[in-house]
């Protein structure tokens, strides 16, 4: 393995800028770190280069642990976005810099310099000054300079950001060729997904300091596992679907027959599906669709895009309620982004205002829980307060999901019996107050799989504590935690609690093993890197104590029996000091 990162974390004023990142890059691989600004990708690159220290974790280059090794001894070459050429030195001097430091003889330096200039297609420019070169040429010099001392690893920090589109493409080609010719392990950081597709052997997508997904470009595009990657790597329509034993449905009578994981008959799960604009089929009538029927719609806007036609289609057409609901809109009416090739345009020309039948050729269901939020309260006013909660709105924006409202007058009444027809799907949200434990149980018994209890003015947490009451709920809890933590820049800590302080020493090895198991499952199955802590004593009390230690924390608690909440955790749930996310894994439902 050429580059190995193990749980690398960098904190800035207490906030993780790089949050528990682990990855392996092979020899000669071209790896691209892709993510929006502020995702921590540049910081991660600088950490690999040694220009930034790490607060936790290990970095190894070619098997050598370099975590505490100075940058100049790591054998890396770094190319900066603004070139960082030495302005008072000529091109030749710039390139030979690394060699001069190593006391190479002038003739040897000259030869190597010529070789590098040929490599980047800049022969003859030896004596120019950087100011006399264009942006593209300066960047080529920067690349040549970085390669002069034959580094083991080449790192590029958004190298083409300051250049025009055409030059950018030229340089992309040059970099690719250089990399192939030298076979050097390369890591390139960018926010441009097109660039990532063009260059990468593998892509690692980062957001909020976390490495979300890694894989080949085509895999990530066709089969993303997170909402973020689905929308970042290309345009995507996110639709809420209900998954049941009969397949996928969009509410109403539209359904897509797919054999999906069957759940308990009658019990539905709400999930998010990705429908790419190019996989949407439009036809004059339902009968003429070759793909599965979704709904009807009206063409709203058509944009000519050269080889592709881009359209926005309003779902539903007036009288008929839109059954297809976008995951990321507040109300039912929404738009679908559709792109059509010239071929399709000719087969079925369209104009704004026309009614069409919409079909989906290919739908990819994301395995993420937390599809949408439903704010629940006994009255309108209360529901509004919950909807306005800063943490909730923040999560909704970041997870690109909607917040629906549901008024339930009997919320929390323990006597009321569950009514199957009005069951909940997805995650319910209630305000924290005394009696929250009753509301939670009430919701869980009516099909809610997650309940989010929010104090007024809750803020995005800096630390998320994770605990499951019994092993049955472990997987679900980890899945939900992983999903949440992809959208919140916080430290993840699994709190393992063993009973009884008296038997501490004997229990410790058992406890430690459980912790390590939990951590490795979190990492390998759910892509979540988390810390672990071991406490002894009563579960509720220890959790309360951990939460009280510092502000800005959130607890994710997994249970398989709602009654447990009332019995043991009433005090914890009724306290209004911290946000809580209860994850429910019913005992007889298959694991999710």
């Amino acid at each position: 393995m050429s580059i190995t990162l193990d749980q690398v974390t960098k904190l800035y004023q207490g906030v993780p800028v790089v949050n528990d990142v682990s990855l392996d890059i092979g020899d000669g691989e071209f790896f691209v770190l892709l993510g929006p600004s502020g995702s921590g990708k540049s910081t991660l690159l600088r950490a690999i280069a040694g220009l930034t220290g790490v607060d936790h974790g290990r970095i190894a280059l070619h098997g050598r642990d370099v975590t505490h090794v100075a940058a100049r001894r790591r054998g890396v070459g770094l190319v900066f976005q603004n070139y960082a050429l030495f302005r008072h030195m000529s091109v030749a001097d710039n390139i030979e810099f690394a060699l001069r430091v190593r006391r190479m003889r002038a003739s040897a330096r000259r030869e190597r310099r010529r070789e590098l200039l040929r490599l980047v297609a800049l022969e003859g420019m030896d004596q120019r000054l950087p100011a006399q070169l264009s942006g593209g040429q300066q960047q080529r010099v920067a690349v040549a300079r970085a390669l002069a001392h034959k580094p083991e690893v080449l790192l590029l920090d958004e190298p083409f950001g300051a250049l025009d589109a055409k030059i950018r493409e030229e340089l992309r080609r040059t970099i690719r060729e250089v990399q192939r010719e030298l076979g050097i392990t390369t890591v390139l950081v960018t926010h441009d997904q097109e660039e990532a597709f063009a260059l990468a052997d593998r892509i690692g997508v980062m957001n909020l300091g976390r490495l979300l997904e890694m894989g080949r470009p085509d895999d990530l595009y066709a089969r993303p596992t997170t909402r973020f990657v689905a929308t970042f790597l290309g345009a995507a329509n996110l639709l809420l679907v209900r998954q049941s034993s009969g397949g996928l449905s969009f509410g109403g009578d539209a359904s897509v027959n797919r054999s999906a994981e069957s759940t308990r008959p009658g019990r539905e799960r709400e999930m998010v599906a990705v429908l790419r604009p190019e996989e949407v089929e439009l036809a004059p009538d339902r009968s003429e669709l070759t793909a599965s029927y979704l709904t009807h719609g009206t063409v709203e806007e058509i944009l000519f895009g050269g080889s592709l036609e881009r359209m926005r289609v309003r779902l539903g057409n007036g009288a008929v309620n839109a059954q297809v609901v976008r995951a990321d809109s507040d109300n039912g009416t929404a738009f679908l982004e559709v792109t059509r090739s010239q071929h399709e345009q000719r087969a079925f020309p369209l104009a704004p205002g026309q009614t069409v039948a919409i079909g989906a050729r290919r739908l990819h269901v994301l395995p993420t829980p937390l599809s949408s939020f439903t704010a629940c309260a006994t009255s309108d006013a209360q529901a509004l307060v919950v909807c306005r909660n800063p943490l909730l709105t923040e999560l909704a924006v970041r997870m690109k999901t909607r917040v629906a409202t549901r008024i339930e007058p009997t919320l929390g009444a323990t006597a009321a019996s569950p009514d199957e027809s009005a069951s909940f799907v997805g995650a319910a949200v209630i305000g924290a107050r005394p009696g929250a434990v009753d509301c939670t149980e009430w919701l869980l018994r009516r099909g809610a799989e997650e309940v989010l209890i929010l104090p007024e003015n809750a803020v995005p947490p800096q630390r998320v504590l994770i605990h499951w009451v019994d092993e049955h709920a472990r997987r679900a809890t980890l899945a939900v935690s992983a999903s949440l933590l992809r959208h919140v820049a916080a430290e993840a800590v699994y709190v393992g609690i063993l009973p009884g302080a008296g038997t501490a020493d004997e229990q410790r090895p058992l406890g430690m093993r459980a912790l390590l198991d939990a951590r490795s499952e979190a990492q390998s199955v759910h892509g979540l890197d988390m810390r672990t802590e071991l406490h002894f004593g009563d579960v509720a009390r220890e959790l309360a104590r951990a939460l009280a230690e510092s502000p800005g924390q959130l607890l994710i608690l997994g249970v398989s029996d709602p009654a447990v909440l009332g019995e043991r955790f009433a005090a914890l749930l009724d306290a209004t000091a911290w946000p809580l996310l209860i994850v429910y894994q019913p005992p007889d439902a298959p694991r999710r």
């Binding site: 040694g50 100049r72 900066f80 603004n82 030495f86 302005r87 690394a98 430091v101 950087p130």
Partner: protein, 278 residues
């Protein structure tokens, strides 16, 4: 082109008239008097006046001490500027603000204060005289005073240059294998050099003409510790207007030469600072 480009804004006549009147009355006329007074002598007379042994002694002291003071400021001023820009330590902002004190403080005040500090029984003077170094009333004292008044020029000129050194360049050099000293020698110093030379010249120019801070600590013995401005004052008191004017012209010529050097240096510096990137 015509005298001026037409503009929609009013007030040119008034402001231009007032400005030129003011400058002519306050600056041009007096300078003309100076030059004409000096020119009213014959060339031999002029040369005789400006090259008496006493005058030569004064030049030696004025220029010599100014050069030395500017040199000291070159080293220490750079260190101070570097410390203020790159390091954090308690009181940094206060000290940064105090650097400008010699600008704001009247020269007479710094003059008597320095003399008191460096006198034989002064706070610092007493330790130095134990080591046999006498500061007050010697050329050393003159140099000390000139160093003080030149210090803000050097620090304030070099500070922005250091602050502007692109950290990316240092990072790049480090990844290429260079140690801190190498980076300093090859990357930082060449970039800051034009500013350092400008600061040196500014400090020198100010020091040559300085009067108030120096005459208290100088001792003012002819040919030993007498600075050129003092010689001019003495000539005036003797009503030897011509002699004073002649010496004044010599000082003016030097000032202009230095001003020219400063402008050329700044232009050279600007050519070397070329934009990277876009």
């Amino acid at each position: 082109m015509a005298f001026r480009r037409p503009s929609v804004l009013p007030g040119f006549g008034l402001t231009f008239g007032f400005t030129t009147f003011f400058l002519s009355a306050i600056v041009l006329l007096p300078l003309a008097a100076l030059v004409l007074m000096a020119a009213s002598m014959s060339w031999e007379q002029f040369l005789h006046v400006v090259s008496t042994p006493r005058a030569l002694g004064a030049y030696r002291l004025s220029f010599g001490a100014s050069l030395l003071a500017a040199g000291i400021n070159l080293v220490f001023g750079f260190i101070i500027a570097w410390t203020l820009v790159r390091y954090q330590f308690p009181g940094r902002r206060l000290i940064d603000a105090l650097i400008d004190m010699p600008f704001a403080l009247p020269t007479a005040v710094s003059g008597i204060a320095l003399t008191t500090v460096f006198a034989e029984n002064g706070w610092i003077g007493r330790y130095l005289s134990l080591a046999g170094i006498h500061v007050a009333y010697t050329w050393i004292g003159v140099t000390v005073a000139l160093t003080l008044i030149g210090m803000p020029f050097m620090v304030r000129t070099v500070q922005p240059a250091i602050a502007e050194v692109q950290r990316d360049l240092e990072d790049a050099a480090e990844t290429l294998g260079a140690g801190r000293l190498y980076v300093f020698r090859r990357i930082i110093l060449p970039t800051v050099l034009p500013a350092m030379l400008t600061g040196f010249t500014l400090a020198f120019a100010r020091a040559v003409g300085e009067y108030g801070s120096v005459i208290f600590i100088a001792g003012n013995l002819p040919m030993k510790t007498e600075i050129t401005p003092l010689l001019i004052v003495i000539r005036l008191e003797e009503f030897d207007y011509r002699g004073a004017a002649a010496l004044g012209v010599v000082m003016l010529v030097i000032s202009f030469a230095v001003l020219l050097a400063i402008n050329l240096l700044q232009a050279w510096g600007r050519r070397r600072i070329v934009a990277t990137g876009r």
